[in-house]
């Protein structure tokens, strides 16, 4: 198998193309590290070791060097996540507006603690810092949708919307 084939074996040709397109805008291949991780994660939900090594090879860097970058950031997942990622803002405005109760309600209704995935693989619950919608605190984000002014009573209905 050629080097290119091996890559495609792990990454899809669309992923490789998308990453190459990013590289084309940058001074060197390694500079596309974050874009490449994001492209693959957008496609697969997370970045596995195999994906990480394949991306690293594509960018001409060591897997270790790429993982050093990946592990720095909050939004790159190096472990599998559920179909939906729930991010609950725990920063100061939401705190002032009583987000802890909402968080507890979510945890109880899912039966998981922050950082965990429900057994059915439907949700992963993660804490997040200020989501920049403090005028609507408490705020949570599910996948890429923002929910503001969340009250404990709203929790079941919101969760229902993500099958």
């Amino acid at each position: 198998m050629s080097e290119a084939d091996q890559l495609i074996d792990v990454l899809t040709s669309e992923e490789v193309e998308a990453i190459e397109a990013e590289i084309a805008h940058l001074p060197d291949r390694e500079s596309a590290a974050m874009e490449a991780l994001q492209i693959v994660q957008a496609n697969r939900g997370w970045v596995s070791d195999a994906s990480l090594s394949a991306i690293a090879r594509l960018l001409g860097m060591s897997a270790a060097a790429l993982d050093s970058i990946a592990t720095f950031y909050n939004l790159i997942f190096r472990q599998p996540v559920g179909r939906h990622v729930i991010m609950t803002c725990d920063s100061v405005s939401c705190f002032v507006m009583g987000c802890e109760k909402v968080h507890k309600a979510i945890e109880e209704s899912l039966g998981v603690s922050p950082g965990e995935t429900t057994e059915d693989g439907r949700y992963t619950l993660l804490p997040i810092v200020c989501l920049g919608a403090c005028d609507r605190a408490p705020v949570i984000m599910i996948d890429d949708e923002l929910h503001g002014d969340v009250a404990v009573e709203d929790v079941p209905a919101i969760l229902e919307r993500y099958p």
Binding site: H25, L26, P27, E30, S31, A32, A33, M34, E35, L37, Q38, S68, I69, A70, F72, Y73, N74, L75, I76, M87, D90, S91, V92, S93, F95, V96, M97, I128, V129, C130, L131, G132, A133, C134, D135, R136, A137, M141, D144, E145, L146
Partner: protein
């Protein structure tokens, strides 16, 4: 675009939401950029922005035109690109102003960046955007595409010989990415650790090339200045500072939100008139005037104008201008735990005081809050806070910012901390505050 008193938000209000290219152009959008690129010199643009006294809206308040003038010109810049980077990372807790501009009037930012890029002769521009800002990303991407299609971006902007590419880099998510040098490392696809200054970004920034980093709101102010002139902008402000400011309030007020007001509007006016005052049953105890990394202000400061100088004189910073209110149901110790948790989590891990000191302070505060505090703990807290908090003691200003709300909480709410230690528990939890 009429000579408005709300240059940042008037179009959004008129459109009652998203301002698309057509709406933006209907309001005179891109005329300023076109005129700048086709008929002004970069120095003229810089001078105008200097004269307007536009100060950075990212928190530090550095004069924008002055910053631009640090970029080496002509041959002095050496071969290669120059960069203009918009800081749209907005992760300061309590801050929600840039999101508003990105989601509702993205062309305003695009136009500001065309002008800014021209002023420093940058051929590459990036918006460094929070990864969680999905809607902002969608709107700005569309705006960039639309502007490109019109020939406002790319090669030979407005038919001139000036060319500039504009792209979006979505952050992998870390508060420190907002610090401008960490942002540059993040933009380069590296770990977002801050860089030492000097060299300052205008001399050596992204990929080692001259770079200007400006906040979204800062750049959004630029088209208005170019359109209506420096004096107009100066006149918008109430006191020494010029222009309008996006002020925001979160917490237990009747109408939390964001308003474009003359810079220097008083805190009281913002809270009472625009935010509708405190909710029934809640009293204001303190506020962080400009995000989580600013010092608490209290009752006595309410009549201060929200401008750089006045807030600084009161021992705090205007920061992002979006204030967080602490009402009387909130335990100041618990709020300090929340704040320090944020800063400890978001430490990049590079320098010792921040990496190791902040978690210690967080755990000490948790001990106090949960009733395990010792009499000496407050001394430990304040000594550490002063070591960590002095600018220059840590590598970047992250930890410095972290200590502002703590030092001031120890100053204004000391009796709360002491009560926790004396009673071995949190009075607020006991419901007996």
């Amino acid at each position: 675009m009429s000579s408005s008193s709300k240059p940042l938000t008037e179009r959004i209000e008129t459109e009652n939401g998203l301002v698309d290219l057509a709406a933006y152009q209907r309001a005179g959008g891109y005329d300023a950029a076109r005129r700048v690129v086709t008929s002004m010199t970069p120095e003229e643009v810089q001078d105008l922005v200097k004269d307007a006294n536009l100060r950075g809206r990212g928190g530090a308040g550095f004069p924008t035109g002055v910053k631009w003038s640090f970029v080496p010109k002509g041959d002095a810049a050496g071969p290669g690109h120059k960069y203009l980077v918009c800081n749209a990372d907005e992760m300061e807790p309590g801050t929600f102003k840039d999101r508003y501009l990105l989601e509702y009037d993205p062309h305003l930012l695009v136009e500001g960046m065309i002008i800014g890029a021209y002023a420093i002769q940058a051929d590459k521009a990036y918006v460094f955007m929070r990864g969680e800002y999905h809607e902002g990303f969608r709107q700005l991407s569309r705006a960039i595409d639309d502007a490109k299609a019109q020939g406002f971006l790319g090669s030979n902007v407005f038919g001139s010989d000036f060319s500039v590419d504009l792209g979006i880099h979505r952050s992998g998510g870390r508060y420190i990415c907002g610090e401008e040098t960490a942002l540059l490392n993040a933009l380069e696809g590296k770990r977002a650790q801050p860089r030492y200054k000097p060299p300052f970004p205008p001399a050596s920034g992204a990929w080692g090339r001259p770079t200007i980093v400006n906040n979204v709101e800062t750049l959004c102010n630029v088209p208005g200045i170019l359109r209506h002139g420096a004096q107009w902008f100066q006149d918008l402000g109430n006191g020494d500072d010029a222009g309008t400011k996006l002020y925001g309030v979160s917490g237990r007020v009747n109408r939390p939100g964001l308003w474009e007001l003359p810079i220097g509007t008083s805190i009281r006016e913002i809270i009472e008139e625009h935010a509708g005052g405190m909710q029934a049953g809640y009293q204001l105890r303190g506020l962080l005037p400009g995000g989580a990394s600013t010092d608490f202000l209290v009752e006595q400061h309410l009549d201060l104008p929200m401008d750089y100088g006045s807030i600084q004189a009161a021992g705090s910073r205007m920061g992002t201008g979006t204030m967080i209110l602490m009402d009387d149901s909130i335990c100041p110790v618990a709020m300090s735990v929340n704040l320090q948790h944020f800063f400890a989590q978001e430490s990049c891990g590079f320098c010792t005081p921040c990496r190791e000191g902040l978690p210690w302070l967080e755990s000490l505060l948790i001990d106090i809050e949960e009733g395990r505090g010792n009499p000496g703990d407050l001394d430990v807290l304040s000594a550490n806070a002063s070591y960590i908090g002095a600018p220059g003691n840590t590598f970047c200003l992250h930890a410095t910012g972290a200590m502002e709300p703590l030092n001031s909480a120890l100053k204004y709410f000391r009796e709360d901390f002491e009560a926790h230690i004396e009673r071995g528990g949190c009075p607020y939890r006991e419901g007996s505050a």
